[in-house]
């Protein structure tokens, strides 16, 4: 009897969960369905299926978003930023963890404390300084991402270093490796799990970042969110095109999520709890 009741309970919970899940994806569903409609079709109702399925919205949005170019810019900027954040933060996390002096502790503290500073509090002087140095471009943006991304990354690498014995370093040094070789061939491979976490956490915010690129990049170098902003402004009240554009813009993220959902959820969980 008791088993039965528990089973029935579980079934109702399952149904509740699935209903909530449907509500959760409803906005995406409505976006996609209406992206296949004509302008007139949307005007007569957004809740039903398309009267006739049209693909032309996607073609037009794809061209107007200069999608391949925006995608290329996004991939390039995110990719290079992640590469230098991982390389330089892991080096720093290693050096700070292996030096137990007071000075090393103070440097570590400064990096952690810098996480308190919200972006808006440095943005105006930052843009001014980089503008005077003629660095308001993709290269400057990548360097800025290193500055904003390194604190949390160093914090995570520093924590992971406690699990790697010092005898690893010593053995390599005795074998004649220098510091950088020791780091690159021995330590860095051991840090791979935390590197995955660092990569995921940074990809999520850099890929989606709007405000900083909007202050730094010109429209010809626009990343996907930035281009989306211009595009949307151009097509207010033309939902058939706007929704097709939004669908295209989301696609890379959904594809990435589909292939790496487990790593992404684990990475986010690790980053948040620490």
């Amino acid at each position: 009897m008791k088993k039965n009741k528990e089973k029935r309970n579980l079934i109702s919970i399952e149904i509740l969960g699935l209903l909530l899940g449907l509500i959760w994806i409803a906005p995406f569903y409505l976006m996609i369905v209406n992206a296949f409609k004509t302008k007139r079709d949307i005007f007569s109702g957004v809740l039903g299926f398309p009267e006739e399925v049209v693909f032309s919205n996607f073609v037009e949005a794809f061209i107007d978003l200069a999608f391949l170019k925006s995608l290329f810019n996004s991939v390039l900027i995110t990719g290079l930023s992640i590469a230098i954040i991982i390389l330089f933060s892991s080096m720093a996390g290693y050096a700070l963890a292996r030096n137990k002096s007071k000075l090393s502790g103070v440097i570590f503290f400064i990096f952690v404390a810098a996480m308190l500073i919200p972006f808006q509090s440095v943005m105006i002087p930052l843009v001014s300084i980089f503008g005077q140095a003629d660095m308001l471009n993709a290269g400057g943006l990548i360097f800025m991402y290193l500055g904003f991304g390194c604190s949390l990354s160093i914090f995570l690498y520093h924590g992971a270093m406690t699990g790697i014995s010092k005898s690893m370093d010593e053995a390599a040094i005795i074998d004649g490796a220098n510091r950088f070789q020791t780091f690159w061939y021995i330590i860095f491979p051991l840090l791979k799990p935390i590197s995955v976490t660092v990569a995921i956490l940074n990809v999520i915010w850099i890929w989606n970042d709007y405000l900083l690129p909007s202050l730094v990049l010109s429209e010809s170098n626009a990343t996907i969110p930035l281009k989306m902003f211009y595009f949307f402004g151009q097509y207010t009240k033309q939902w058939h095109l706007a929704l097709a554009g939004l669908t295209i813009a989301i696609l890379p993220v959904i594809i990435g999520y589909f292939f790496a959902q487990k790593q992404i959820i684990n990475g986010v969980s690790e980053g948040a709890v620490k």
Binding site: G17, L20, S101, S121, N208, L211, A242
Partner: protein, 286 residues
């Protein structure tokens, strides 16, 4: 590695330059310029606290702070209830547990700017159509009033972030020893008693973590604000972050905007330091 070893400093140089040039120097510059009449290029005069005195008298700025505080309080409460609720749901022994985790977390991966545009469509067109079909007047004209703009932002943020908070609660829920729950079951504790006396106390640290996390997220929101309401109608749904961006880059009052940014920093820092304080206190108690 010793302090004097060359390799120690070589390993640190890139990030010290990064943090220094991108965060520390602009922050200190900003602090200094907030006491001047800086226009973004040059500062002619040192004007003391004038910017600070002015900003406290500017109704638009104070309104944006007040709006942000209201938004933050509502969002934090809602997000934690939803996050914990979703976490309890997906960690039950149900078949769709993993699928639901994936679904609830998904909005989090997409930028606030894009999500805001999607919800603009939902609030304006979809809500309008539902109102037409059902006759519920309250679904008409969303985002055109301060009130619907406020709740629009709350709904968008709750929908976007609940999955993230869920993940945090799951991490803590999965750390609860199964034996504890089983033992309580054998002793005849009801599921509510088990939740109240075992699950809740053991998940309490997650509550502190998520509360401060959501609080600082809610304070710093910009993208969603920009794409959903753009501050309208009449700047009444403008949050602090957006107010600062506008003062700087639309009104070109750089020093004045920087003074606002310093106040913004103080608010965010106080929230974060309170969290550190509470965490330390609990560690001592435990």
């Amino acid at each position: 590695m010793q302090n004097r070893s060359l390799s120690f400093w070589l390993f640190l140089t890139p990030v010290i330059m990064g943090l220094g040039i991108v965060v520390v120097i602009p922050f200190l510059y900003g602090l200094f310029y907030s006491f001047t009449d800086w226009n973004g290029i040059t500062a002619n005069a040192f004007i003391g606290f004038e910017n600070y005195i002015n900003l406290f008298q500017e109704s638009e700025f104070m309104d944006s702070i007040w709006f942000t505080v209201k938004f933050a309080v509502v969002t934090v409460i809602l997000l934690n209830i939803m996050g914990l609720g979703l976490a309890l749901l997906v960690t039950r022994n149900i078949k769709s547990g993993n699928l639901l985790r994936t679904v609830f977390f998904m909005p989090n991966l997409i930028g606030g700017l894009i999500l805001g545009f999607i919800w603009q469509f939902i609030f304006i067109s979809v809500f309008g159509d539902i109102a037409g079909l059902t006759g519920i007047e309250g679904l008409n004209g969303w985002l055109s009033t301060t009130n619907t703009g406020f709740w629009g932002l709350v709904i968008l943020t709750a929908w976007q972030m609940a999955g993230y908070i869920m993940i945090i609660y799951i991490a803590y829920l999965e750390n609860i020893p199964k034996e504890l729950i089983e033992a309580a079951k054998i002793d005849g504790a009801s599921s509510f008693q088990r939740f109240k006396n075992i699950t809740f106390p053991l998940v309490a640290p997650a509550f502190t973590v998520s509360m401060f996390l959501t609080l600082s997220m809610a304070f710093k929101i910009y993208d969603q604000n920009l794409s959903l309401t753009n501050g309208g109608p009449f700047n009444s749904t403008q949050m602090v972050a957006m107010e600062i961006v506008r003062t700087a880059f639309s009104d070109n009052q750089m020093a004045y905007a920087q003074a606002k940014a310093v106040i913004f920093f103080l608010i965010v820092a106080v929230i974060a330091l309170t969290q550190v304080y509470y965490n330390k206190k609990r560690e001592v108690e435990m």
